[in-house]
């Protein structure tokens, strides 16, 4: 290979390219850095003038893990963790069941059911929220974690499309082979398809596990009794921030 002469024009372009990337990264990371820096601040309020805290300390972390009357982070964390685990199990099962039924089973109402699911997905979730609340109230499940779990996972069957897309790519010959060997549909599902679908199962587990940590609208509506020990992390954080705003806005 011949040695390329150093191309100054190309070099300048490369430098600009990297300067641009560094600038973009800076823009994306500044708020995150601010978040982390502020968390190590000894100052209790919101510091408006200094990007980095005047005095560094771990006191905020220490406070976070010692429950007091208003903020009980350890309890919130455990609540969310419990809800997330239950949610994860139910959602994953439902999603995989629906995905298998719509992908591998051949039955008459398959297409109509799938079309119905598409239509249901088009309604804004916020719309049905209030009726969901009244249904939970009628069942006596408001202000309970079971109610939260139901809200997060009961309708999770509607989110089957990604798993179905994965199942659609599994070779049909495998199922036929299993059938010829005398396996029932249930057997095929459990012993042939599930072991083949680890990636999609992991994806479903992670995404359903994250829902309770991220959601705050439903949680706020259902956990409305004001008993902070029952809250999940997101309601707690939102309330803490609210309190901070009230204390510090002049």
């Amino acid at each position: 290979m011949e040695k390329k002469p150093i191309n100054t024009k190309q070099l300048v372009k490369d430098i600009f390219r990297h300067v641009f990337i560094v600038l973009m990264v800076a823009v994306w990371l500044v708020p995150i850095v601010w978040l982390v820096a502020t968390s190590f601040s000894a100052y209790n309020g919101r510091d408006m003038t200094n990007f980095f805290p005047q005095e560094w300390s771990l006191i905020q972390y220490q406070k976070l893990f010692t429950p007091d009357t208003v903020a009980n982070f350890p309890a919130w964390f455990m609540n969310t963790f419990k809800v997330a685990c239950a949610c994860c199990v139910v959602s994953t099962l439902f999603t995989l069941m629906v995905a298998y039924a719509t992908s591998f089973c051949d039955f008459k109402s398959r297409k109509p059911l799938m079309n119905l699911a598409v239509i249901l997905n088009l309604f804004p979730g916020v719309l049905s929220m209030i009726a969901v609340y009244f249904i939970l109230k009628a069942l006596g499940l408001t202000n309970t974690h079971l109610g939260l779990i139901l809200v997060y996972s009961a309708a999770s069957g509607l989110g089957y499309l990604i798993a179905k897309g994965f199942f659609d790519t599994v070779p049909r010959a495998l199922c036929e082979a299993a059938k010829l060997d005398g396996a029932s549909q249930a057997r095929t599902f459990i012993s042939v398809i599930i072991p083949l679908s680890k990636p999609i199962i992991v994806y479903t587990i992670i995404s359903s596990f994250l829902v309770p940590w991220m959601d705050f609208v439903y949680a706020k509506m259902i956990m409305n009794s004001g008993i902070s020990d029952m809250w999940t992390v997101s309601i707690g954080l939102y309330n803490m921030l609210d309190k901070a705003l009230i204390n510090q806005c002049h």
Binding site: I21, L120, L127, I135, A154, A155, S184, V217, L241
Partner: protein
């Protein structure tokens, strides 16, 4: 199973049994040709099974029927007769002479009537479907007996639910969940759009009732002088659509450009840069949004930084502060929200685009380069059409998601943005509201369920029309068959 395979199968007879595939023609045959027990099974669901000595199944069906009847008598009859009026007895406190206490009278709760009536209708529709399907099944049994075919024992019947009817086993629980927590709430809210359920008509203390299309007329411009919903709806709708277009396309193209930039051969350390962008995904959206909201607050750190920078450069005098209304003035807030959404959304889109771009048709790009195409042309004529083809459907769903993008707008503007526009304020909307956030505020803070429902229906219609049109343009047939 074993028994079936060992005995020679009377194939012709089995074929004789196969149904026409249409439920209603099957039902007609069953009604016309069924014997007395088949006909009786309309009244007593277990009749046909009992006649064919399937006693377990007969018992199960009978119990199911009893449950439906019990539900109807003990529960549904309390509510369904009042469905036409949604209740007539106003809640009142009366003094009870016997107990010497003030007590509530036996009042009607309109919402409960609505909720439980809808529940009863769903149960009844299901029951009728079961009843008719049951009749078809029973007639099949009769035919099997007439043809001298094997009639399943209870154990074999249960077995079919793990095999031929496995989809029923799989779908029953998820469908129940969807019906309870998705279908019934939606039905109720659609019905509420035709009532006057609002703050003046809040159960249990007040009744609400059917008002026909009044709410729709109010929303689409009609109504009295005090109502400004028509105006607000138009304003909010326009911003919703503008927002959806900007939010979808900025993050989409931003993500593609960024990932092309990072994937470029001349970029050093692409993995490091990518990882740094992904850090922003790792922070939950809800935390990062609240964080950015504080960052851009009127007296927040961003204005503070600008002030120090401007003071240092001598643009403004010492002591003055810059207070840009990033999230508090119309216009400013709109732009800031779109920019913040770019900040939130581009890393996601970059990840997706990186995945798509790894399968880019390299040979085509190579040959276009040899033909003398420059980078722009390659992007315009090869990369973009390919990426659009792969991610087109995702683009449509992204657009719909952005129309319903509750989190970004609500968390950035709630408690921060207040409108000065009197007409908008009258109908509890703000300039930066999307239809969904407006809907949410109407229900949560103002209990105006009737208008919220109408808005919800409008959102659905917009999303449905857009999706249908877009998919008709973009997709031809479904790809499912390719892999099957």
């Amino acid at each position: 199973m074993k028994a079936n395979t060992m005995a020679p199968k009377p194939v012709s007879l089995e074929r004789d049994l196969t149904s026409s595939g249409h439920f209603f023609s099957d039902l007609r045959t069953a009604v016309v040709k069924g014997d007395a027990f088949v006909k009786l099974s309309l009244l007593w669901w277990g009749a046909g099974y009992a006649r064919r000595k399937q006693f377990f199944k007969a018992a199960v069906m009978t119990l199911l029927e009893a449950a439906v009847i019990w539900f109807t008598v003990a529960f549904a009859f309390q509510y369904v007769p009042k469905f036409g009026t949604l209740g007539t007895v106003q809640a009142e406190q009366i003094f009870n002479m016997e107990t010497m206490k003030t007590e509530w009278n036996n009042y009607d709760d309109s919402f409960q009537i609505l909720l439980f009536s809808v529940l009863s209708f769903v149960v009844w529709i299901t029951a009728v479907a079961v009843m008719l399907k049951n009749m078809v099944n029973v007639y099949q049994l009769q035919r099997r007996e007439e043809l001298g075919l094997h009639i399943n024992t209870f154990k074999e019947d249960v077995g079919t639910y793990l095999n031929e009817k496995f989809h029923i086993t799989l779908l029953s629980l998820p469908v129940l969940g969807v019906v309870m927590f998705n279908v019934i709430p939606l039905l109720i809210l659609i019905l509420v759009a035709f009532t006057n359920y609002d703050q003046q008509h809040m159960p249990p203390t007040a009744l609400f009732t059917w008002t026909g299309l009044t709410n729709f007329i109010n929303l689409f411009g009609g109504g009295g002088l005090t109502l400004t919903f028509g105006y607000s709806f138009a304003r909010v709708l326009v911003w919703t659509l503008v927002w959806a277009v900007f939010a979808t396309f900025t993050t989409y193209f931003g993500g593609i450009l960024l990932s092309l930039f990072l994937n470029n051969k001349r970029t050093k350390l692409p993995k490091l840069w990518r990882a740094l962008f992904i850090v922003t995904i790792a922070v939950p959206q809800f935390v990062s949004l609240l964080l950015v909201r504080n960052f851009f607050a009127d007296n927040g750190i961003f204005n503070g930084m600008l002030t120090s920078a401007a003071t240092a450069l001598g643009i403004i005098a010492e002591g003055t502060t810059l207070n840009f209304p990033w999230l508090t003035a119309p216009g400013w807030a709109h732009v800031t929200i779109v920019l913040i959404n770019i900040w939130i959304g581009v890393p996601y889109q970059m990840l997706i685009a990186t995945g798509v771009l790894t399968n880019l048709p390299v040979d085509q790009i190579e040959s276009s380069r040899i033909d003398g195409a420059n980078a722009c042309q390659t992007f315009r004529y090869i990369t973009m059409p390919y990426v659009l083809f792969v991610t087109g459907p995702a683009l449509v769903t992204d657009f719909v998601k952005n129309i319903n993008n509750f989190n970004v707008i609500y968390l950035l503007t709630q408690d921060v943005y207040t409108t000065t526009n009197q007409a908008l304020a009258n109908s509890q909307a703000t300039e930066v509201d999307l239809l969904v956030t407006w809907l949410f505020r109407l229900t949560q803070d103002y209990y105006n369920y009737k208008m919220a429902s109408v808005i919800g229906i409008a959102v659905f219609v917009i999303c449905a029309v857009f999706t249908l049109v877009a998919f008709n343009f973009m997709l031809s047939g479904d790809k499912e068959g390719v892999y099957n």
